[in-house]
Amino acid sequence: MIAEIGLAFLWLAGALAIGQLFMGVLALRNGDGQGAAYASAIRPTAILQGLLVSLSFICLIWLFMVTDLSVKLVATHSHSLKPMLYKFAGSWGNHEGSMLLWVSIMAASGALVALLEKRISERMMIATLAGQAFVSIGFYAFILLSSNPFERLSPVPLEGNGLNPLLQDPGLSFHPPTLYFGYVGLSIAFSFAVGALITREVGPAFARAMRPWVLGAWIFLTLGITAGSYWAYYELGWGGWWFWDPVENASLMPWLAATALLHSVTVLASRGALKAWTVMLAVVAFSMSMVGTFLVRSGILTSVHAFAVDPERGTFILILLAVYIGGAMALFGLRANTVTEGAKFQIVSRETALVANNVLLMALLAIVLMGTLYPLVTEAMGEQVSVGPPYFNPVSAIFFVPMLIVMAVGPMLRWRKDSLQRVTTAMAISAMAAALALLALVIFAPDAGLLPSIGLVLAAGLAIASLYPLWKRNLRRTPLPTYGMVLAHLGVAVSLAGMATESAFTTERLVASQVGESHEVAGWTVTLEGIEPVAGPNWTALAARISAKSGGQVVMLEPQSRNFVKPFTNTSEAALHTQWFGGQLYAVLGEQAADGRWQLRLWWKPFVHFIWLGGLLIGFGGLLSLIGRLVQVRRRPVKAEAGQGSTDPAMA
């Protein structure tokens, strides 16, 4: 019964979305008379739509929690013995459920816009909600016509199939929703851009309304990427933290676009400049989140052939992709000339630095996008290639390095007009930090490798430069968004330092060890004390007891080799020990050789945890900035029609 109710809610929500689109169109077409009736109905419709689809998703969660095996999705992806957390998270750990989650987040966000947003004109609000309805109709159609999560199964099986053990991890349970919040936030930003284009109101008010959504999406994407990278690091047991895997790229590409959008929307909100550019970035960012969804959800990554064999879903998403991106680009092309010219600025100014940063981010995006799609294109033409770090690392570094330099200098510059002489001292101090890092590298680690060395030198310079906006300021009166910017930029430096030290100074030992035997890894004495069996709720494992000594300190590590019962799978669980000012000791248990020795893979990875600490700092910086913006809105409500060139004191 619950399944049928959930499905009914979903159909109703879909119908409301269609209604919302038509109301929007009619309200904008007909003037005050008839149009007013439609206009007054569109907000409640959006709110009701959000409510209904959320209820539908709650129905699905319920079905998973009680393991209702008469529902096909539950039977194929769940199991009555699964821990409660994974029953809950299992509701979105599959294709149909994740699409329902996607559309729920989207409709709920639309409802929030309808409820809370008061700064934009009524016409723009109508156009925005109509645009949002247009995007969500495609997803409703996709779910209802080709991916119904509530489909019944007959006969009812006695037990479910279980969930892929690699996915049975608390961190990973919340990974997809985090990314979805990011993707959906960008779709809301896109709806605002559509609204502003249709009503020809691309200006600071539009930017201020869009900014929290971009910021929010960006924070979620940042945290999602950070968490995903850490998951791959400890769960896959290869000690790597970024594989340039298409699924990783699918989250990186929207992040790059969102980062660019985040910076340009700030310029538009506070300076009234970069109008057309901001709208275009909103279109690109949304397109990238669609490409990301397409890559992950269409099955095309498994194989182009598999995609061709079972084309229904993939084709559906591909059509959606074409309609949305094509439609958005067409609308932009048609209306770009109506976007009025923005406020002026000189070549040496913070605006120019932000434009440069934006362009370099777009270049990085192009490189990642081409590297991700290239294997798909060649495979379709009959040749198998794989594109990996030998392509991505050097090619992206060419654009990443100048971007970091712009990132260090940009925040030192004033808006509109500045001179490089004014900031010479500040630039010299950062350059000195970089030079010191270079000197230290030359003396202590001359063979660190080119890319890691560049990374460390730039990280040192950027870390110092990122603090500049706080220099000689009254720290109490410095607005939160400024702190946010400082923290986020510092986070990039911290993360970069972690990546560089890990790449340059990791020590690896691969040994076959008797029980009781000791091995040396980068100053640690690692001893295999014993191997013993362990049992979990739905797995059994062999666990190695390993002691690691360094100085007077002794720590125990317990890497496991796990066998899951349902579905039958073997995974290895790495064991980690973190030294906050040192790095991580990483141990993996392999197989037992015929002579009774156990394979152990041991790594000492100096400062590897800085990679994710940096990611968290970036996200936290975003959060501070978001809080600052929202508080600002509450303190001084901005009128719906803010004039052009109005300034935002917090950005000064």
């Binding site: 052939h305 070549i347 434009v355 362009v359 691969l510 040994v511 799978t569 893979r601």
Partner: protein, 154 residues
Amino acid sequence: MMKAKHQRLILIMGAVIILVAASLLAIYALRNQASYFYTPSELTEKNVEVDRAIRLGGMVQLDSIKTANDGITVNFLVGDGEAIVPVSYRGITPDLFVEGSGVVAEGRLNADGVFVADNLLAKHDENYMPRELDGIDKTAIENSTSKSSMRGGQ
């Protein structure tokens, strides 16, 4: 002071140049750096240069996995029913790396004709296959099973 229109034009031109440069660079690098996928028979036929990063995919031949005395280096044979290539790998083999099952090895061919793998990709679970193995999967499995039945008969 420069005219606003000129300035706008310069910015747009700069942006276009950087984006075009990025795309051209990407295309150039992709042609050179993409590592190609070979089956054992393609590898023997095509005379792949030594030390070029490539991927080799096929079935791990029955009775071929041998662990060297150091307990870490694994030598095995990968075949596709027509040709067989010796592979050497130092490290912990992935879960479900077993004889008679599919594997993709990343690495390079050395001067002795041995494929030295830096990385082995095997099946994560029974539903997952490295996508390169799509085409050769069936025939290779049939070959290795028919071999095993032959062995069984001996």
